[in-house]
Amino acid sequence: MSHLVALIQNENMKIYRRNSARVMLFILLGLVLAAGLIIKFNTPEPKPDQNWKQQLQQDNRALQQQMSQVKGSTSARNYLKSTIAVNQYRIDHNLAPARGETLWKFVEDVASNTVTVISIFTIIVVATSIASEFDTGTIKLLLIRPIYRTEVLLSKYIAALLFAVFSLIVLFLFSWLLGGILFGFGGATEVHLSYVDGAVRETSWTLAIWKIYLLNGVSLFMMVTLAGAIAALFRNGGLAIGLAIFLMMGSSIFVQLLSSYDWVKYVLFANMDLTQYTTGLQLRDDMSLGFSLAVLAVYYVIFVIFGWLFYTKRDIKA
């Protein structure tokens, strides 16, 4: 096991010493910075609203009415129910909703939109790591060491996932810092309200953000594994990157097109977005979190077996 650590060290060196790693990091930080500046200078400073309680009560009445009209979809009802409950909680506990952008709201906006970018970058990293050594010929000097190919492949996979974790941490810290600078660090103590199992709870924003990261991270994890498997299968980085990004971007369209069919629930992309279970906006009523996790696990095992077989069993002709 100890040499697995050394192998991961090697892969890290090969990821971060490339110029592309630096470029990706700059793009990521640049996007966050641009988003922050646009929000800061394009939204007018809101005035504090003294009548927010009446406003929320009014909102709730409207939502209640909507709920009585929606009959079929439980997911839509769940969504309305949670919004009403959170509003009521605010009224009861005298917690005025934040107006305009705050530190945490910015971090949240960044989190839900930028994880896709990190997914794309990690797909590039994993595909490059696995396939480029066949193009450059370095694979020959890599695989003649007293190390099994399985260990080499595993170290590449782990190093790519570590890259994703590292990027998420950088993203979190940078967006928090930028949010504080642009919108004031005063918002840092704000509580986060979430609706869990029929009750509203006060939770920390940090936890809430990492929950978003984690839920989005599932799709990242699956797509990175798929890209790695394609790279190992065809030994072609460009193909793996292109195909994986195309599938990831196109997935929501495919799923929408197929959503009327029964079997859509077994499609990988229908199950990858786990946020559907937290917002209550799930694709089909006969799907649940457990179901999706089981489907994902099956796909995962298939990807890993195919990638592993083709990486370890085929001759090296590069």
Partner: protein
């Protein structure tokens, strides 16, 4: 070689009926031979003969369809790690990570084998003479420097079997000379089995103790370089003022037929002790002699003879003569 018998005892690499088929095509056909510790073994063959495929099977990059390969007694198939611990290699070109420095490249390979420290890395860098530019990125290296870095990574873990595919490629004459001495030293002093493949046959002649010739995936034979070259027989060239009359003298006086006659020289295949007799006869007939040279057949000529001359395409620089 002084203690031939002793060296032969130590079998470093053993190929047993190695066969490789891809589809219906047989690339390597029932190859069996042994390479001993302490010798430099040359692997010869025209392009596409199966040299690289054989080397790839020895280092585990390709699987064999039949047969087995043992490195220091460890099967490449079933004891991959023990077998590979003993091997250092360059397969075809020394392709390194260009975006890393030479040092980072060596560090990368050192990490893959336990017990290789920074001292060993520096030792190897010094040995291949890359001290001054080791912290530069490999993309700025010349082909010769890359070749030396390739040799460095192959020697890093003190392997007992060193496999170098075309090692002189890109080296300047001084570099070739140094490499040759280094390989001999590794073989003689440290008992390493060195396997070299090269298209530069004259280079092979100076570098190797034994050579194995492979063609169309089959082994044509393994011989020591001295046997290989001498099997051609002793040919002697006499530089004279008039080739035609010299040839006539030999025919009439000694009944010896010249194998080639030119205006300024003749070539004769004779035993060693006949040379003074010929000189006497020529001088007696007033033929002026400017030189007497023993012409050993070069490895290249012999190689073409053995492989039936079919290799011509793969050697660009053969004199038409």
């Amino acid at each position: 070689m002084t203690n031939d018998a002793e060296i032969r005892k130590n079998i470093a690499v053993k190929l047993e009926h190695v066969t490789k088929r891809i589809g219906r095509k047989t690339i390597i056909d029932d190859l069996s031979f042994e390479i001993y510790g302490g010798e430099v073994f040359g692997f010869l063959g025209p392009n596409g003969a199966g040299k690289t495929t054989t080397i790839r099977m020895i280092v585990g990059l390709m699987r064999m369809t039949k047969g087995n390969i043992f490195i220091q007694g460890h099967s490449v198939k079933t004891e991959f790690k023990q077998a590979m611990r003993q091997v250092g290699a360059i397969v075809e070109n020394p392709e390194m990570y260009k975006f890393l420095t030479g040092y980072q490249n060596l560090l990368h390979y050192a990490r893959m084998i336990p017990g290789i420290g920074k001292e060993r890395i520096h030792e190897v860098i010094k040995r291949v003479g890359l001290e001054e530019r080791i912290h530069e990125k490999v993309k700025r290296y010349s082909l010769g420097m890359r070749q030396r870095l390739g040799v460095a990574q192959a020697m890093l873990h003190r392997p007992s079997v060193l496999i170098l595919d075309e090692p002189t490629n890109g080296l300047d004459p001084q570099g070739i000379h140094d490499l040759r001495n280094d390989l001999h030293r590794l073989a003689r002093e440290e008992g390493v089995a060195v396997i070299v493949s090269s298209h530069l046959l004259s280079e092979m002649e100076l570098m190797c103790d034994r050579i194995g010739i492979i063609q169309n995936g089959q082994l044509l034979g393994v011989e020591t370089v001295s046997d290989f070259v001498q099997n051609g027989g002793g040919k002697v060239r006499f530089s004279v003022d008039d080739g035609t009359s010299a040839a006539q003298v030999l025919k009439q006086n000694l009944a010896i037929e010249a194998s080639s006659i030119k205006p300024d020289a003749i070539e004769v295949t004779v035993e060693h002790d006949k040379i003074p007799v010929i000189v006497d006869a020529l001088v007696g007939s007033k033929v002026k002699i400017y030189g007497v040279v023993s012409v050993t057949q070069s490895l290249e000529e012999r190689f073409l003879e053995v492989t039936g001359g079919k290799a011509l395409v793969s050697f660009g620089r053969i004199d038409p003569e």
